[in-house]
């Protein structure tokens, strides 16, 4: 009991400090525009009672699930290909790293022109954000694989597909979870930014139309909802990652 308390006390204190700071900001703001934590929560609860809100969530969620699945499928595939062939990996990696640090919003018009408005553009934008980190992490995990695995595969005369499916993927599973976790947050970010420009539905659009109206309260409520979702999902995957690493270390 004491151990749990001493583990939870510091994060809870920080959360309390954050809330007090927010409340102070609300008090200090000259206008009434920044709502207090309680007001934001109340507004969020009211919004969660409307059909419109859940339609937006469903729309964003669908685009996000597609973006994440595509990012993972292509990211892992590309990562395995680059990881198993060193020269290809060495040549392509700098390009991917450069693309990763590029502000991808810049390329947004290109995505819109190529995919049109709507679902596919949002998904494409999510994939653009999520794909590269998954690829890079997968490749990195493979390059740190114990050489004995690949040598044993050679001894057993496994084909390329078999090496990938039976040796590499199980061996790097914990890193794949880590890659998914990072791809998860970036795909979500990509989809949301996509909705801000190219959609008439979804949470990103709801936020941007609130921006247009100067409705800070709604933005805060949507932001809190998204932050809570993202942090909860991320913490869950972090826990899974740790227990997997633990298990593979114990083996």
């Amino acid at each position: 009991m004491r151990a749990v308390l001493s583990k939870l006390l510091p994060p809870l204190t920080m959360a309390a400090v954050f809330l007090v700071g927010w409340q102070l900001l609300h008090g200090l703001a000259t206008s009434d525009e920044i709502s207090s934590p309680l007001e934001t929560l109340a507004l969020l609860v009211r919004m969660m009672d409307t059909v419109r809100f859940w339609q937006d969530v469903a729309e964003t969620g669908l685009a996000f699930v597609w973006a994440l699945l595509l990012s993972m499928a292509f990211g892992i595939l590309l990562g395995v290909v680059l990881g198993l062939s060193r020269p290809t990996g060495d040549a392509v990696e700098p390009i991917l790293v450069a693309f990763y640090s590029l502000p991808k919003v810049t390329l947004y018009p290109l995505v819109l022109l190529a995919f049109g408005l709507g679902m596919s553009a949002k998904v494409a934008f999510g994939v653009m954000h999520g794909l590269v980190p998954i690829t890079l992490l997968t490749r990195n995990a493979i390059s740190q694989l114990k050489p004995v695995y690949l040598r044993s595969a050679q001894v057993m005369r496994l084909g390329r597909t078999q090496v990938a499916l039976k040796i590499v993927l199980p061996a790097i599973f914990p890193e794949l979870v880590a890659g998914t976790r990072i791809g998860f947050s970036l795909s979500l970010l990509g989809v949301l930014i996509g909705e801000m420009f190219a959609s008439k539905r979804g949470l990103g659009f709801a936020a941007v139309s609130a921006m247009g109206l100067g409705d800070i309260k709604t933005i805060l409520a949507i932001g809190v909802f998204l932050a809570a979702f993202a942090v909860a999902a991320n913490s869950g995957m972090l826990m899974l990652e740790r227990s997997l690493r633990h298990r593979s270390a114990a083996r």
């Binding site: 510091p10 020269p87 040549a91 502000p103 919003v105 819109l112 022109l113 998204l226």
Partner: protein, 249 residues
């Protein structure tokens, strides 16, 4: 090393050539992508014409300011958080999930707090970039080999000397990686904020050109950003390699 760089450049060159061919043969419509040679010509005109010089300088200044604030403040905060155990245990769980939160959503809140102009853009960019530096500082300070600290104690170094001569150099690879990430995030933060809700800067210029179907200007500006980011990235790479070579001596 040289060989490797050449291969990457070769791949990019082949892609650009393929795009050029696809554009010229009409395989890709002119309304979607313009040919790379046209992009380059447009960029040249943009640089010579001077109509965008103000926007370019504004964006680069904002990026530079955001990166500088993030690196300095991120390092300072990292050192403080590392020193105070309670603070660290309190903040670390949030740091792990920080980048999962789409910070952009809160941009209008910053406009209320800081007014319009560069201040809210820099504020939200620092918010995006500083955490990478804090995390890198924590990792760097954690990974200082214990023997170095012990040696410093044996040599009776003063705290200042210990920090400057032992701890800082030992943590520098991690600090460098953190600074690099901060710069990348500063580019992303500034240009994305300008794109979403600003009336000035490169991001806005691209959004404006897009809304006016001015593909030529739009692709010229995009090319400019791609070139600048790649150049910054490449120079960091070169610096990193030199630092690593020095460390191995």
């Amino acid at each position: 090393m040289r060989h490797r760089g050449l291969a990457s450049i070769g791949i990019v060159a082949v892609c650009v050539a393929a795009l050029q061919l696809a554009c010229k043969t009409g395989l890709v419509k002119h309304t979607i992508i313009i040919a790379p040679t046209e992009m380059a010509a447009s960029l040249w005109q943009i640089l010579l014409g001077g109509a965008f010089t103000h926007a370019i300088l504004l964006t680069l200044t904002n990026i530079l300011l955001s990166a500088a604030i993030s690196i300095v403040a991120g390092f300072g905060l990292g050192v403080v958080i590392h020193a105070v155990a309670f603070l660290r245990r309190g903040i670390e769980p949030y740091l792990a999930s920080y980048y999962a939160v789409p910070t952009f959503i809160f941009y209008p809140v910053f406009i209320v707090l800081f007014g319009v102009g560069s201040a809210p853009i820099i504020a939200i960019t620092v918010l995006l970039a500083i955490v990478a530096m804090i995390t890198a500082t924590l990792t760097g300070l954690d990974r200082i080999p214990g023997v170095l600290n012990k040696t410093a104690t044996v040599l009776r170094l003063s705290p200042v000397k210990r920090a400057l001569r032992v701890q800082l150099p030992a943590a520098s690879p991690y600090l460098f990686a953190g600074a690099r990430l901060s710069v990348a995030y500063s580019f992303i933060g500034v240009i994305a904020s300008e794109f979403i809700l600003s009336g000035d800067g490169l991001g806005y210029a691209i959004a404006y050109a897009y809304n006016n179907f001015d593909n030529r200007t739009m692709y010229g500006l995009m090319l400019l950003i791609i070139i600048v980011v790649t150049a910054v990235n490449a120079s960091f790479d070169a610096l990193d390699r030199r630092l690593q070579a020095r460390r191995r001596r």
